[in-house]
């Protein structure tokens, strides 16, 4: 309790910084939310390459047309290496290989296999959904209709009806865009708030002479470290909770939908990563005057580079390449992705979880670095 009590008192001395970061968040995020909707909602289409070895007639042609309607068809030269390169550089998200005799085999009920190659990201997932949806419907009607033209008609009608249903249940992209704005901007406030406060507190408690005094006292030093760690974690958690509450106020009930909850989860993991980063920096520097400078570099820098203020699509390519080395990139990418995600499912969230994994890897890295730094210092 002694440590926690002193912790709260030192924290109290820093409350104005936290309030400042929060006001900035409310001001800018709130401002952006109002002006957010000039872009309207654009459904993004995946880039797909179709390699057709079958004749372009009948059901094969129908399938290709359906894909064409729902994606951007890419033309790549007839060379497997070129196709792989295109996938690697994300020029296409998905390649569909239609084998020879596909049409005949399909109509005869042989279930011919369609091979695909995928980038594994969300756009690839959308492509896969397209293909799956088509054949799910086609297989159902094939068993009751043998005439190829009528079969095509049936498939056509069903696909259209399904799209209509989907349109009516279309998610509220407007609110989700707002939520994404808020959480993107929170990148700055969470980072700045936790790094500033935790660095400040660590440099007070771990200041060489104060530390010596603590070590010679009869208070168990391990316990002392644990209490400090716990207090800092509690602070980071409270800060996160506070920003989540703020998002409920600013964005509204949409935060309770599955999309909103996924964003909240994302911000939780990011808060954890920020906490570990704050530990690392706090143990690295011993100069209080340096803290605000470092916070600016880290919080402002990563917010700019990773598109918290300016959407990523407006950033030059080299900036985006650099931003991959920052945890903020994965956090903000996730917000952007969730915003456009039509369906929330374990499968559609795969790229989301990969980004979460990246953030956790960063945390691990920071924890290891913190240990190295503290070992160095104590010896």
């Amino acid at each position: 309790m002694t440590v926690f009590k002193a912790y709260l008192k030192v924290l109290n001395k820093n409350k104005w910084m936290v309030i400042l970061y929060t006001v900035i968040l409310i001001f800018f995020a709130g401002f952006n939310m109002k002006t957010s909707d000039t872009r309207g909602f654009v459904t993004e289409k995946p880039d797909i390459l179709i390699v057709n070895e079958d004749e372009n007639i009948g059901i094969t042609k129908h399938f290709i047309n359906y894909i064409k309607e729902n994606s951007n068809i890419k033309e790549i030269k007839e060379d497997e290496n070129a196709r792989n390169d295109a996938l690697f550089y994300r020029d296409v998200n998905y390649i569909i290989y239609i084998p020879k005799n596909f049409r005949i085999d399909f109509l005869e009920g042989k279930n011919p296999e369609i091979k695909v190659k995928s980038t594994g990201d969300y756009m690839a997932f959308l492509s896969e959904m397209l293909v799956e949806r088509y054949f799910k419907i086609a297989n159902i009607y094939k068993s009751i209709e043998t005439n190829e033209e009528k079969l095509e008609m049936l498939i056509e009608n069903t696909l259209q009806k399904e799209t209509e249903v989907e349109m009516t249940s279309k998610l509220d992209t407007d609110t989700l865009t707002k939520a994404a704005y808020f959480y993107n901007f929170a990148n700055y406030s969470i980072l700045a708030g936790s790094v500033f406060v935790i660095c400040f507190i660590i440099s007070s408690f771990k200041e060489e002479k104060v530390r010596k005094r603590t070590i010679v006292s009869s208070h168990n030093y391990r316990k002392y470290n644990r209490e400090l760690l716990l207090s800092n974690s509690l602070f980071a958690f409270t800060l996160w909770l506070f920003y989540v509450l703020l998002s409920f106020i600013l964005v509204g009930k949409a935060m309770l939908t599955s999309h909103g909850i996924v964003m909240i989860l994302n911000s939780f993991v990011f808060s954890f990563t920020s906490l570990t980063l704050a530990f690392f920096i706090g143990n690295l520097i011993s100069n209080k005057e340096a803290i605000s400078g470092i916070v600016n570099v880290i919080a402002l820098g990563s917010s700019f580079l990773c598109g918290a203020f300016v959407p990523m699509e407006f950033l030059p390519d080299f900036v985006i390449t650099i931003s991959h080395i920052l945890p903020s990139y994965y956090y903000i990418s996730n917000n952007e992705m969730v915003k456009t995600l039509e369906i929330i499912s374990l499968e559609s969230l795969q790229p989301f979880f990969i980004n979460i994994g990246m953030m956790l890897l960063f945390s691990l890295l920071f924890i290891v670095l913190t240990n190295i730094v503290t070992k160095r210092k104590s010896s």
């Binding site: 009590k5 030192v10 010596k212 603590t214 070590i215 010679v216 006292s217 009869s218 208070h219 030093y221």
Partner: protein
């Protein structure tokens, strides 16, 4: 008196530098032990080893008959430390700083409150409880630093140069406080390079140089050890040659000069030299004025033992 701390054959190396070399000494219960030495002589290093703040290669340190270790919390509970440098939270008030550091030892709230009040009174910071460290003068800061180290009423107190760069008023206050701690039964290890403090404060002195004990004893013993002379000067209007010859024959006298009505008598050792001289002058009805004696100080002792000044 029994030994409360025993240091045996302590050797501490910093890489290739032997900061403390095969040091053995003990601290007796209730005494004020002075650790004296010039800059870099190993005073702080010795203290930090005794506190288990530093690992050392050789030697043993026992406190209350038990081995001192980093996790000897029952021993640490009875120890108070005031480091050479001020160690405080800038963000906490005088009272809150004390509450924190005392709270590391004393968990009970009411006892702690009482102890803090006592310590604040001891160092005379009653009027500054709500001040922040940066609002305090250097002297007051030192006093707070001391109060934080001793608020939990420890049986043993380590003080590392607590009066460096302190105004005379604060200094007297600090020295008084240390006296009071002793009166309350604490054993004190006091590190300094101020001679005068050692002479008025310490029961026993250990003089360190380059990590080695070069002398040990009470201040008086040390002065005797050094075989120092005492110089007495007297103003005498007129003195006859025969008196000078007689004074030369007094006990312990080694040299007598008389010049410009100034008599200077140098004694090689012994006590009560001044009294024997005044008795002689009174017996011979010689009127005198302005008599004073220059007794050797520990500084002279140190100079004699090492050939260098204690203070730079």
């Amino acid at each position: 008196m029994k030994n409360i701390i025993e240091v045996k054959k302590l050797t501490k190396m910093y890489k290739n530098l032997k900061a403390v070399d095969n040091l053995s000494f003990e601290v007796k219960e209730g005494e004020i032990l002075g650790l004296l030495g010039p800059n870099g002589s190993g005073k702080s290093t010795t203290m930090n080893c005794m506190l288990s703040l530093l690992e050392f290669k050789e030697g043993t340190i026992t406190i209350f008959g038990k081995e001192m270790k980093p996790n000897a919390y029952d021993i640490k509970k009875e120890i108070g430390v005031v480091f050479q440098d001020v160690a405080l939270f800038e963000e906490l008030t005088v009272y809150d700083n004390m509450d924190y550091f005392c709270g590391l030892y004393i968990k009970d709230k009411r006892t702690r409150k009482q102890y803090i009040e006592d310590a604040i009174k001891l160092v005379g910071l009653e009027d500054f409880k709500k001040f922040y460290p940066k609002q305090l003068s250097g002297g007051l800061l030192r006093r707070l630093n001391i109060a934080c180290g001793i608020a939990h009423k420890p049986k043993i107190v380590f003080l590392d140069e607590p009066t460096v760069a302190v105004d005379p008023q604060s200094r007297n206050n600090i020295l008084d406080g240390i006296e009071k701690l002793r009166e309350n039964g604490a054993t004190i290890i006091y590190t300094t390079h101020y001679m005068e403090e050692v002479e008025i404060l310490c029961d026993r002195v250990i003089i360190l140089d380059k990590g080695i004990i070069i002398a040990e004893g009470t201040p008086d013993e040390l002065k005797e050890l050094a075989n120092m002379e005492e110089k007495v000067s007297v103003y005498i209007e007129k003195l006859e040659e025969k008196h000078i010859e007689e004074i030369k024959k007094l006990k312990n006298v080694s040299e007598v000069t008389y010049h410009n009505s100034n008599l200077i008598v140098i004694y090689n050792k012994g006590k009560n030299n001044l009294i024997s001289l005044t008795k002689y002058l009174e017996k011979e009805r010689i009127s005198y004025d302005k008599i004073y004696s220059e007794r050797p100080t520990l500084n002279d002792v140190f100079l004699e033992l090492t050939g260098k000044e204690l203070r730079d």
